[in-house]
């Protein structure tokens, strides 16, 4: 009896060591075997230029056929700050940050949430998604939602399936009347997005979580200073 118990314990320990070794090995493997991306798309939202006209979110809804009641892109308004006639609002963009280190991709049980290795764009495979909503809970930016038509998780994909396919810029970038949005490849030092990022100090939100978001923001000069 004690012999068989010892045998079992040995076997269980060997299995545990094997399983954890395999997990570590595959974790390292996926980290090391990353294909060299062709490009890495990023977006800059210049809050000093944004006037909160919502042309971007309306264009997004039309191009990507986003149903009523949900949205891939919202402009949040804070304010007014100051007294008439020197009143200011502050406009911030709420949409997918296309993290380099993606919490949603890590937790997705079926691999429906994935980062496109060629472009760095975080996307959803509608067919593979079962709607467990783990990605929605895992996103620290809380921008994912269930599309009421497809019943799959949905979010901004930099118009990957619509405008980018046709070789055009994302709908929001084209629609912006004040040129507050700049889209491009941050691995290309000549690209417009790199020029804009070098010309003014920018910030990103929740960087302490280590997600390395690729939605850069140039801070609006108006607005309050919060502690």
């Amino acid at each position: 009896m004690s012999n068989s118990r010892r045998l079992f314990l040995k076997g269980a320990c060997a299995a545990a060591v094997g399983a954890s070794g395999f997990t570590i090995a595959t974790a390292k493997g996926t980290a090391g075997s990353d294909v060299e991306p062709v490009c890495n798309y990023a977006l800059v939202h210049d809050e000093t230029k944004c006037i909160g006209c919502d042309a971007c979110s309306i264009a997004c809804r039309e191009v990507n056929q986003v149903p009523e009641g949900v949205s891939r892109l919202e402009i949040e308004r804070e304010g007014p700050f100051g007294e008439y006639p020197n009143q200011h609002f502050r406009f911030t963009r709420k949409s997918c940050q296309h993290c380099d280190d993606t919490p949603c991709v890590k937790v997705c049980p079926t691999g429906a949430a994935y980062k496109d290795p060629k472009t760095g764009i975080v996307s959803v495979d509608e067919w593979k998604c079962v709607g467990c909503q783990y990605c929605i809970a895992a996103c620290p930016y809380q921008i994912r939602f269930i599309n009421p038509v497809t019943k799959a998780a949905d979010k901004c994909d930099f118009c990957k399936e619509t405008r980018l396919k046709e070789g055009q810029l994302p709908a929001c970038v084209t629609a912006c009347p004040t040129k507050a949005l700049t889209f491009g490849d941050i691995t290309d030092p000549q690209s417009q997005v790199v020029q804009v990022l070098k010309s003014a100090p920018s910030y990103r939100t929740k960087t302490d979580l280590g997600t390395r978001p690729k939605l850069f923001r140039i801070a609006s000069q108006s607005g309050e200073i919060k502690l």
């Binding site: 118990r5 269980a12 997990t23 049980p109 079926t110 429906a112 593979k128 909503q133 799959a152």
Partner: protein, 313 residues
């Protein structure tokens, strides 16, 4: 902001019930194994308490999985979770554990109920007889793996939530341990309540055995809850905000202090301490103590799930 509806809420109460059922299944089967191994031996199947645990374990896990599937936005696509696996996803790993757990569970049930099952068959189906004896040959290994899988399942329910960096209260290393221990205590309570309902002797050796384990388990649970919230408060920032939002004033604060601390932990602990292991037990005593524990664990699951999602990092 109402206690059941707020912007950052993604997973509502059905998930809490699933977490509860997975925990009670893992806990009940652990106690069935303990009872058989240390107290009852070959006659385990005759005990109402073992019967109750062996009914609770599979039924709870099926009901939990059923709730989980219904809660998907695409319930008919649930098979994709079984086909596609992502090793970095806690949910994916958990689904794999759940599947293997069910196999081990039924193999062990076959070992325990081999005698009554074979006498019921009465030699009519020789295949069944062969199958049962083939499984029973490996009972020691099956029991060991079942306990490991049950403990993994109990901890998994906590890891599922602690993987979410979005919510500072859930993203907490104590949570899997807390869920494991409270799951085990709900399994003990379920076994006791089911056992006395199935005409088990409320003063039997099974009850005394489980009650002896229950006191240290409740104490560990209290220490873990204390560590959980102290850790959050000492971390500061949004973790501290989340902790005070949870156990401070308001609906969920009441649930925590009155429901979890008083009804779920203090009352069963007090009953167990006042009723010494040597004294005689009655049906009502066992049933009330077990019900308090079950209510406490169910409230704990809901409390952690809802308050955890209230504060975003």
């Amino acid at each position: 902001m109402s206690p059941f509806h707020f912007d950052s809420l993604t997973w509502p109460w059905p998930i809490a019930i699933y977490l509860f059922l997975a925990g009670i299944s893992a806990g009940a089967i652990c106690f069935a194994v303990l009872l058989k191994h240390f107290k009852l031996g070959r006659d385990a199947y005759k005990s109402g308490f073992v019967q109750a645990a062996c009914l609770i374990a599979p039924l709870a896990v099926f009901a939990g999985l059923g709730i989980l599937v219904i809660d998907l936005t695409k319930p008919f696509d649930f098979w994709k979770i079984l086909v596609f696996y992502n090793p970095t996803s806690v949910m994916s790993v958990g689904v794999a554990v759940l599947m293997v757990y069910q196999v081990a569970l039924f193999a062990w049930l076959a070992c325990v109920f081999k005698e009554p099952a074979l006498s019921w068959c009465n030699g009519r189906w020789p295949v069944v007889e062969k199958l049962f004896s083939a499984i029973a040959k490996h009972e020691a290994s099956i029991t060991g793996f079942l306990v490991i899988l049950a403990l993994s399942l109990g901890a998994y329910t906590g890891f599922l939530l602690s993987a979410l960096t979005t919510y500072p209260m859930l993203n907490n290393p104590v949570l899997p341990l807390l869920f494991l221990v409270s799951g085990l205590s709900s399994g003990a309570a379920g076994t006791l309540l089911g056992g006395v309902l199935l005409k088990g002797n409320p003063d039997g050796k099974e009850v005394h055995f489980i009650h002896n384990i229950e006191i240290p388990m409740i104490l560990v649970e209290i220490v873990l809850i204390f560590t959980f919230f102290t850790g959050l408060i000492l971390t500061g920032g949004q973790s501290q905000v989340a902790a005070f939002a949870a156990i401070g004033e308001g609906f969920w604060g009441w649930i925590f202090w009155a429901g979890i601390v008083v009804v779920g932990l203090s009352m069963p602990l007090a009953f167990n301490l006042f009723m010494k292991a040597s004294s005689k037990r009655k049906f009502s005593y066992v049933a009330i103590t077990a019900s308090c524990s079950l209510i406490g664990v169910l409230l704990l699951r809901n409390f952690i799930l809802y308050t955890g999602q209230m504060t975003v990092a």
